[in-house]
């Protein structure tokens, strides 16, 4: 095509300008692709290392829960107990879009003893189920995992360092020796006088019925990824959790008392201090009275909130390919249709600050890329406009001998898009190569929480893939189109007379 021929030759003729515009397109594409790859890697990393390893995609909490930020707030009000767990479980089991689900508890506990009062964010669950559902996201560093009905706690390896800083003692799993290699630098300095403990006295924080209990440290653990961000999380076996928070199942609170205890429970003061049940000799009162009492009041109950099993929330993992927002909407409909007493939250909503920080960091990357785009657009627009004006004679003469405005437009667009394809395409390809290199270099976060969130894990893993490449191509096309609109208008406005007047 004629205009393509002229366009290509003009690009070669005006090499300096072509290189300037091309370089801007190249750099913009390169940085955009690396930014995209970082954002996509971050999103996928968060998905894999946080959502699929701990929070689940959807969180169900009691419909009496007023706040949405239910997962990562240590000082938060205790969560309400989910009602009708058996019914919820039955409904969830039938949903096609759900891959798996796990009931859990969450609450802040006060650590008693040590230097002042300290708090800890604890999660209660059947730990073996947790590992199964989330694909073994946690590794043991010292001690062992919680097995079966074993009571105890799993402390995070980084959380233990904070514990030492705040409380002045070093936690060692019960039944194990102090592992000096794992000591923090501060603990190493204090080694001769190091105080070790293998249990913590915990009290459920904020619950009316909470009690305290000395809980053995069963293991010191580490999340496979994002450990720094999740270091405050401590796992308790579910029975210990329920005990310190004063949650009682029906089985716990409805019990049959031996006859002698029942008699004590039903005895009056007169019975105790008069010639009643503790008087020597023959049993007080008639046997018939006592039997009557036993028959009518064989069970004693306390008015405590209870359910068949006390859980605070359910983590739901979606099947691969399910869209989060669509799944949340679907889950809300399922809850409504089945009259489940639950509130449906996406992991982002339930994770509060963690998710919002990740979103902010991702937005920063996106804003940076968008700003870069605008700068690129302005520079390219300016250079192309100057180029159009400098070629007034050429364009004006073409118009004089019969070229329509459309021809000038096509020629100008052909020049600019040729530059975009060659240089911008080069930037995209190099960006992909750089992303692959960066992914394989395994740049670590150094335990920095912000870096962990930017990386979406422990290492920087920019991912581009086909969709990322397409975003890059579309982005490049948008930059080129926006940058060329004004210069094309300038070129179209050039009249044959302008070419003549130049002389």
């Amino acid at each position: 095509m004629l205009y393509m021929k002229i366009a290509w030759r003009s690009l070669l003729r005006h090499r300096a300008k072509s290189i300037i515009i091309g370089t801007i397109l190249f750099l913009a594409s390169l940085i955009m692709i690396i930014g995209d790859a970082t954002a996509i890697g971050m999103r996928r990393g968060m998905e894999k290392n946080l959502v699929e390893s701990f929070t689940g995609h959807i969180i169900l909490v009691s419909n009496e829960e007023t706040k949405d930020n239910v997962l990562f707030t240590p000082m938060a009000k205790p969560l309400k107990i989910l009602k009708d767990w058996e019914k919820i479980k039955g409904v969830l089991s039938k949903q096609d879009f759900i891959k798996d689900f796990l009931p859990m508890t969450r609450g802040g506990v006060a650590i008693l003893g040590g230097q002042g009062m300290n708090f800890m964010l604890t999660f209660g669950c059947n730990f073996e189920d947790f590992q199964r559902v989330f694909g073994n996201p946690i590794n043991v560093v010292e001690g062992k995992f919680l097995n079966g009905t074993e009571h105890g706690m799993l402390v995070n390896v980084d959380g233990r360092k904070n514990q030492y800083k705040n409380q002045g003692y070093w936690l060692v799993p019960t039944g194990t020796q102090l592992n000096k290699a794992n000591l923090s630098d501060e603990a190493k300095k204090d080694l001769p006088n190091l105080i070790t403990r293998d249990s913590l006295a915990l009290e459920g924080f904020g619950e009316v019925n909470s009690t305290n209990k000395d809980v053995p440290v069963t293991g010191v653990v580490r999340f496979r990824s994002l450990n720094s961000s999740l270091q405050e999380i401590t796992f308790l076996d579910i029975e210990t959790y329920r005990e310190i928070f004063g949650y009682y199942t029906a089985r716990d609170i409805v019990q049959t008392l031996p006859a002698s205890e029942q008699k004590l429970m039903t005895a009056s003061e007169d019975d105790l201090f008069g010639g009643g049940i503790y008087s020597s000799g023959a049993p007080a009162g008639s046997i018939g009275d006592l039997e009557k009492t036993i028959k009518t009041e064989t069970k004693v109950t306390r008015t405590i909130d209870f359910d068949t099993a006390a859980w605070n929330y359910v983590s739901i993992l979606l099947r691969p390919g399910e869209n989060l927002n669509a799944a949340v909407a679907k889950m809300k409909q399922v809850a409504k249709d089945n009259d489940l007493p639950v509130k449906v939250l996406s992991w982002k909503t339930a994770s509060g600050q963690v998710a919002s920080t990740a979103d902010v960091l991702q937005s920063v990357v996106v804003v940076f890329v968008v700003l870069l785009f605008f700068v690129a657009i302005i520079i390219i627009m300016n250079t192309l406009s100057m180029n159009a004006l400098e070629r007034t004679e050429e364009f004006g003469m073409m118009r004089a001998v019969g070229a329509r405005k459309g021809f000038i437009t096509r020629m100008f667009l052909a020049e600019t898009f040729s530059l975009a394809v060659v240089f911008g395409g080069g930037g995209i390809l190099l960006g992909e190569i750089v992303a692959v290199i960066l992914r394989n270099v395994h740049i670590g976060s150094g335990g920095n929480q912000i870096m962990e969130l930017i990386f979406g894990g422990d290492t920087f893993r920019p991912i581009l893939g086909f969709s990322g490449m397409m975003i890059g191509v579309v982005g490049l096309a948008v930059v080129t189109v926006l940058a060329v609109i004004y210069p094309v208008l300038v070129a179209r406005k050039i009249r044959p007379l302008d070419a003549i007047n130049r002389h």
Binding site: K5, I6, G402, P496, L497, I500
Partner: protein, 226 residues
Amino acid sequence: MNVIELKGVKKDYPLGATTVHGVRGVDLAIEEGDFISIIGPSGSGKTTLLNIIGCIDHATEGSVKIHGKEVTTHSDRELTDLRLHTIGFIFQTFNLIPVLSTRENVEFPLLLMKKEHLSRREIRSRAEKLIEEVGLKDQINQKPFELSGGQRQRVAIARALVTRPAIVLADEPTANLDSETGDKILRLMKELNEIEKTTFIFSTHDPDILKYAHGVVKIKDGLMAS
């Protein structure tokens, strides 16, 4: 038959608070096959008049008819098509497309003529024939910067004639040429006028080249002197 007809044509240029009158009411009729020279001193309005006839400038007032059709009311696209199919331009400053060779420059207007459905072979043959006629066969693949001033002007003539226009307008075609080359160019134009019956209108302020013209239009201060 009048191929060009101007009546009361005026062209004003606003210049700040004042108005410069480029052409101040010209009536002119040119017949098909004429070889007309417009003469006059610099700034007299020759180029302005040629630009108005060639549809690359608009008259402020008056009527301009080409082949009997009023062109002052034409749209930009209609004027562009008129320039492509009816009018050939030879500019004072050669004005070739710098990135195209001699042949490609001459072929350029033919490639724009979509309606004619000219074949690639036809386009090439017409361009090469004209290039040969203007004596540039050996420079057919050279770019404008590789050609002398006279050679470039001859390329411009070939380009102006390749579409077989009814009218060829030449604005001081010999102004930037030495006398020998200028003479050759005018002889070529005259030859084509006689053979092809193409109407030629050229402006000049060189009285030596008037000998080639059938008629002379004198213009002074934007008005026809004779």
